[in-house]
Symmetry: C2
Subunit: 143 residues, 2 copies
């Protein structure tokens, strides 16, 4: 193996800077260096980074990923906490979907009725200015 940081980036889809960042926050271990100071990675690094990127794509936070990696590094350990991290995240995703759906409804109502004339009679602006025109108790999402 012994690939450069660019090679690792190419293999995993992560950016070079992102890899260095992961090393900085100790999510990736410090690799060996060449005589000239450049990083050289083993096969294990590709696996680990792929794990991280995949978990990021699924929306896990780096802190959650840190815990998941810790578990992955110790195969004998009880995996209940991995399960609960995933369940917790699933719950958050579901909540976000619900909030966004209520948002969508509101926005659709706002947009549908805009006649596109002057701002004085624009429903978009009017709705925003006047909370009563809106059914939003609280969408609970700030995107």
């Amino acid at each position: 193996m012994n690939i450069s940081i660019g090679g690792l980036a190419g293999r995993t889809g992560a950016k070079v800077q992102t890899i260095r960042y992961y090393e900085q926050i100790a999510l990736m271990p410090e690799p060996q260096r060449t005589h000239g100071g450049q990083r050289r990675y083993e096969a294990g690094a590709v696996k680990r980074l792929a794990f991280i990127r995949h978990a990021r794509l699924l929306g896990f936070s780096l802190d959650q990923i840190r815990n998941l990696l810790d578990l992955a590094d110790h195969p004998g350990r009880d995996c209940t906490s991995a399960d609960s991290i995933a369940r917790e995240h699933l719950g958050a995703v579901k909540a976000k979907i619900a909030a966004l759906n209520s948002l969508k409804k509101e926005l659709t109502r706002m947009v549908k009725t805009c006649s596109g004339t002057d701002a004085a009679h624009c429903l978009v602006i009017e709705t925003l200015a006047n909370h009563d025109l809106c059914s939003s108790a609280n969408h609970g999402v700030v995107t």
Copy 2:
């Protein structure tokens, strides 16, 4: 009127620090001050801040809100751009919902089959380690 920053916060649900932040980025105008230097707000400030908070609840960015406020300040102007800001935002919300739904599917599959034993056979960890076990082409969301 002539209320303090705390009074304004109480009336709108914004935090005191947030109001000062909005002033700093020129989203809220600089209010009058008491002899001792404390902020005192007129009724217009309550309206404007309510507009901002409402728009934030609906997920608009501060930049979008800046544009919307500009339109609200000029009632004679054409409101097409307000409409298009709202439409654009609606599109983003819809896209996010779609991405989160595909995420939810994936996570549900991951979580459902976890037997809760040791990490060596944990599907959560296995799925993350092995991209092939996962149907995610790209969920497109990083939450």
